[in-house]
């Protein structure tokens, strides 16, 4: 359910589907036989109590963790294992719970780093910083500046990210993920640690990303208000098992979800 008055985004076929995936670390089963899909253009929320396996799920989609069982089908291609850089080149980008920015670099450089997979000029021209290398730098700078304008972080371009406040760091990280022009954007608790105003800003950005760029989004989030407002469909995990899957309204009323996670209003 979207906030009323927002533009309609057409939601298409299945972009990514997770089929019967299981993952364990040593003796701990993080994810057990989970299956769900994500449609093109939608915003899919993954919710559940701590330790439910949500981040592990994202890590699997990303190619970080390799499930012992099950497959992922992305854009028609089915794989049981993916390397992280394959995911990147395939059009999957993500942000992290604990901001994973490159602390030694400025905000601008971090976002420019996100363009790396689109840069192809040879080593020779890079040595000279001329010709094709320079043209490429300028061209990608244009695109990065669009993202900077979109996220309203112009003033902090040249600030080393380690010095930025948490909320801005999260925005820069979002910018870096957007720079990859992904088809699927995975957001791991993008609102964590934010106050109400920052959450509203971030929600607006997420919606705009989905509207303007048509990016499909999967997000892990604990704030139920955000989940209700932003998402088209929700998957609920608990102890590594999927316990519900449907629209936000369906989830709100689902008894199993209420017992495991939501609780009842007193």
């Amino acid at each position: 359910m979207r906030a009323p008055g927002g533009p309609e985004v057409s939601i298409g076929d299945v972009l990514l589907s997770v089929e019967d995936v299981s993952l364990s670390f040593g003796g701990v089963k993080a994810v057990s036989n989970v299956s769900f899909d994500i449609h093109k253009g939608e915003i899919r929320a993954i919710i559940g109590p701590n330790g439910a396996g949500k981040t592990s799920m994202l890590n699997i989609i990303n190619g970080f963790y390799h499930p012992q069982q099950g497959h992922i089908t992305f854009r028609g291609q089915t794989r049981s294992k993916m390397q992280p850089h394959e995911a990147a080149y395939g059009g999957i980008a993500r942000t992290f719970q604990n901001v994973a920015l490159f602390r030694g670099m400025t905000a601008l450089d971090n976002i420019m780093a996100g363009r790396t997979l689109k840069m192809h000029s040879s080593f020779f021209w890079q040595l000279l910083r001329h010709g094709p290398a320079m043209r490429e730098e300028v061209e990608h700078r244009h695109r990065v500046e669009e993202i900077i304008d979109f996220l309203k972080i112009q003033e902090i371009r040249r600030v080393p990210v380690g010095r930025l406040p948490y909320g801005l760091q999260k925005r820069v990280e979002l910018g870096r993920a957007l720079a990859m022009e992904p088809d699927l954007l995975l957001l791991d608790e993008p609102m964590a640690g934010m106050n109400l105003e920052e959450k509203e800003d971030m929600s607006r950005f997420i919606l705009d990303v989905n509207d303007h760029y048509g990016t499909t989004i999967a997000l892990i989030e604990h704030d139920m208000g955000v989940v209700m407002d932003l998402s088209d469909r929700v998957v609920v995990l608990d102890h590594g098992i999927k316990i519900a899957d449907g629209t936000p309204n369906e989830i709100k009323g689902n008894q199993a979800v209420i017992d495991a996670y939501l609780g009842v209003a007193h």
Binding site: F25, T55, N59, F64, F96, Q97
Partner: protein, 319 residues
Amino acid sequence: MIHLIYQIFIDPFVQMGTAPDLLVQTLWEGLVAGVLYSLIALGFVLIFKASGVFNFAQGIMVVFAALTLVGFHEHGIPAYVALALTIAVMFGLAFAVERAMLRPLVNQPDIILFMATFGLTYFLIGFGELVFGGDPKVMIASQLGLPKGAVEIKMAGGFVSLQKIDIAAAIIASVMVAALAVFFQKTRVGRALRAVADSHKAALSVGISLEYIWVIVWFAAGLVALATGIMWGARSEVSFALEIIALKALPVLILGGFTSIPGAIIGGVIIGVGEKIGEFYWGPLLGSGIETWLAYVIALVFLLFRPQGLFGERIIERI
């Protein structure tokens, strides 16, 4: 070509078979060298276990301790008094290092502390050479009551000669290892050390004083260094060349893991024996002196198959 294969894969084993006494001799030499490497590695493990600092200066501490002991004796101080004074000096060193280096760097990433120990190493090299001079010195082995001479065992058509000092070294090292293992497991201070190694913050919150622990640990490492220096100096001589040899403790740590006391022993023995056997039987093929790098290459090959070493824990990175 066939000749080469014979030389590499067959001949050394033939040699081992036809002169088993030489083989045993080489194995023994390797064992002794390995025990000494493990003593140095033990010093590393102590400090790493309790503070997460990889003390590159452990090698120079061995040299420094030995030089201090000999230096005191040269000035006419009787052997055991000199020993006591040296122990005091090592305590002073631990205290100074904690104050001047560890405390200011307390929250820095490990790699910064590692590099700081480089600085400490070079400082001690310069300081040691300034105070004691650069010439090699003779360890006061007999004055300390360490045995001289050799034990000869007849076997397999020849004989094997075991230096008494080497036997003493092996025994003393075993005793030290056992004592340290008991110390860590059973005593209150040992438990505190293990707590600090796990988490500084948690240890602080239960009232363990980090500075106190660090001084204790560096002092303990200093004692181990002193013992190593005495043993090693007694076998050859006391000189700054020992510092480079001490770098060999690094492959030992790779094999044995950075936090395991038994690992340091096993790693040391593997490296020591591997080196000596390699040098004696395969060395002449390549041109002698392969001892200088064989240990590192062994460790490197090991790392490729098991990046966490023999005893280390698998590092699972979580994001």
